[in-house]
Symmetry: C2
Subunit: 432 residues, 2 copies
Amino acid sequence: MTAVEKMTNSALGWEVLAEEGEARAGVLRTRRGRIETPVFMPVGTLGTVKGVRFEALESELDARIILANTYHLWLRPGPETVRACGGLHRFTGWPRALLTDSGGFQVWSLGHLRKLREEGVEFRSHVDGRACFLSPEVSMEVQAALGSDIVMAFDECAPGEAAREQARVSMELTARWARRSRARFDELQREGADAGRLAPTTEGDGREAAGSFARHASEGEDDDNAAASSLLGDAHLLSGEQALFGIVQGATHLDLRRESLERTVEVGFDGYAIGGLSVGEEKPLMYEVVEAVAPLMPRDRPRYLMGVGTPEDLLECVARGVDMFDCVLPTRNGRNGQAYTSRGRLNIRNARWAADPRPLDEECPCAVCRRHSRAYLRHLHATGEMLAAILLTHHNLAFFLDTMRRVRQAIRSGQFTRFRREFIGKLDSGAG
Amino acid sequence: MTAVEKMTNSALGWEVLAEEGEARAGVLRTRRGRIETPVFMPVGTLGTVKGVRFEALESELDARIILANTYHLWLRPGPETVRACGGLHRFTGWPRALLTDSGGFQVWSLGHLRKLREEGVEFRSHVDGRACFLSPEVSMEVQAALGSDIVMAFDECAPGEAAREQARVSMELTARWARRSRARFDELQREGADAGRLAPTTEGDGREAAGSFARHASEGEDDDNAAASSLLGDAHLLSGEQALFGIVQGATHLDLRRESLERTVEVGFDGYAIGGLSVGEEKPLMYEVVEAVAPLMPRDRPRYLMGVGTPEDLLECVARGVDMFDCVLPTRNGRNGQAYTSRGRLNIRNARWAADPRPLDEECPCAVCRRHSRAYLRHLHATGEMLAAILLTHHNLAFFLDTMRRVRQAIRSGQFTRFRREFIGKLDSGAG
């Protein structure tokens, strides 16, 4: 609890309230509410945290911010539709903060037949094989139309095991794209401000705007630039005030990571993310990169580790200075019958739970653990009932969010080191 | 509001509070709460109303009673498991009233290679093809182990278009099975009472009891009787106080229906159901049967029309004297993208909703209609998101249960005739 860092701009406020070692407890302020950090952001890929009603996210889980995927929403329902419906908050009915990623990671992990150029990346949609083109400019335009509270710069993600030369090329491209992201983002914000932050119309005809987001690559090779510099129409008018985060790349090469960080900070962002981790590399290597990079990231800006991780990962990376996390693990594994508990993971398929009256986690205060037995949850999973996925997802998110609440309390009361040791020790004790 | 009929026994209380024509508003009292009628019972086949958390059923939808299927629960997880977990209420975490059907209808609609005998019915499980045997005795034993508040007699369901002779044979078998159901049910209740309604143990080893419910038909032909008269072990000790309903069959032959009713009443039950309707016959024929049978059913007992129906069906059959309904339509159609609204059915797949900001039903006060647009729901359905099924099911149940609430108010205030006319007129006006 020594240094108190403060940052405010029109879209985002940030304050560090307490520190313990590298761990920080802080608060992010957005126009859609206050978010205490360290924070775990549930993933709402297509504008829905799979299997969870927004009422539960708000009242029971108290999630203050969720993530949505630009790539997925760009393909379906498309930014024209989201715009016609008044932006992603109004479209989905989620009134709290939203962070959108840039689409770069999904192009890398889901796109087919990718062709990477300086201008951007051409690929085929995983949904229907259509030719698509994504660039820093298009990503900024789509995220402006979505109207998320935190926008991510468009980056290129090298494989976890990328050799130095490949990782350097990728990192340098990411640095150039960061500048272009910043420039286009700033234009869009200015245009939005000049237009007086017009209220979105929900009566507009979405079809008129079709194609203005350059979702489809042009037929001719020479048209790439035209596609990349496509105009947004007036979709950016929905954007309101957004914050922009830059992304540090460089695979597992620490010198490249440091260089990437310097070049990203040089551009200047409202927050900084570590990308390109948890993509297959060994866990100690991931911790090493975070340990080397996070403490060098600006103290007066929030630090976001993308796509990480397990409960243990969260604690280990909080200890190394990270403030924000997102991951599909609690939701995806919930759908697959995996529960996270204070004593480690539990596979609900296991026959030993067939008549077990105990909750998933005897120490968990969530609604699922208060009402339902392992026996019932196993039965639901075994019979293919939707409620299995719904309840396991709910419990997992409750466990992740509650863990982060306890992490915040621990840091603020100077007990984080002990909390971390005890929490991780208990994870190994087994959920049997 | 003339006659006031009253019935009480140790398991069930019944009172008619108001009448308008044949329509009745009443109240059922069970040891797990008070149920105002006419009532719609959501279907919870495998111990879960598909896609709906119990918190929503209780707090938001205020469902007072749900139905579970004996056949399905008998196959999975099996009555041994439910018994080991303390009965269906404790197993599922649902504290309110439960009605279980007898399994007869599912054997008829789902079982393969059925062999019907006087003793019971042999068939192959739709889950794994195993040989199974179900009889009045086994059905009573399983329902005792489940511990439902209302137990249904084991009946034989003739096809909707059954010719007179086939329907007569089936009806007569049902009448003999009604006697056997009653006898075994009474034994089980007495044994439960003698045993002091022992609290169920949740520590027991479910495996010991395996096989005691005769789920599997014996290999040899001669063993049928042995299987049918299988002992229950001590599973019935869980049953507590249960009520038993008889079922009137006879397909669409009114004289057979009347005879079936007489013979069923002769046996004597806590309530009476009309079975074997909504199985493919024309709608006017269904209304004709209900109109001919319901008013003849004992006035001092609740009347239950099984497996019916659409919102229009509910009103038409309330008008003909029915008090209780169950149907998969709101849940199954919700999963298939069909919404019930005050202006008729709405298919959420329709491209015309792509950017439509309106709720499913502008007059509906449910949480889904308060928060979400047709555009968002269409997007969820189009992208295969679970939340589509969750939200449409929630809305549909809200619409059905709210409609029944309005039906009860209308009867109690003598406005039902007008309400029915206006409600049905509006259904035809279109949800566009």
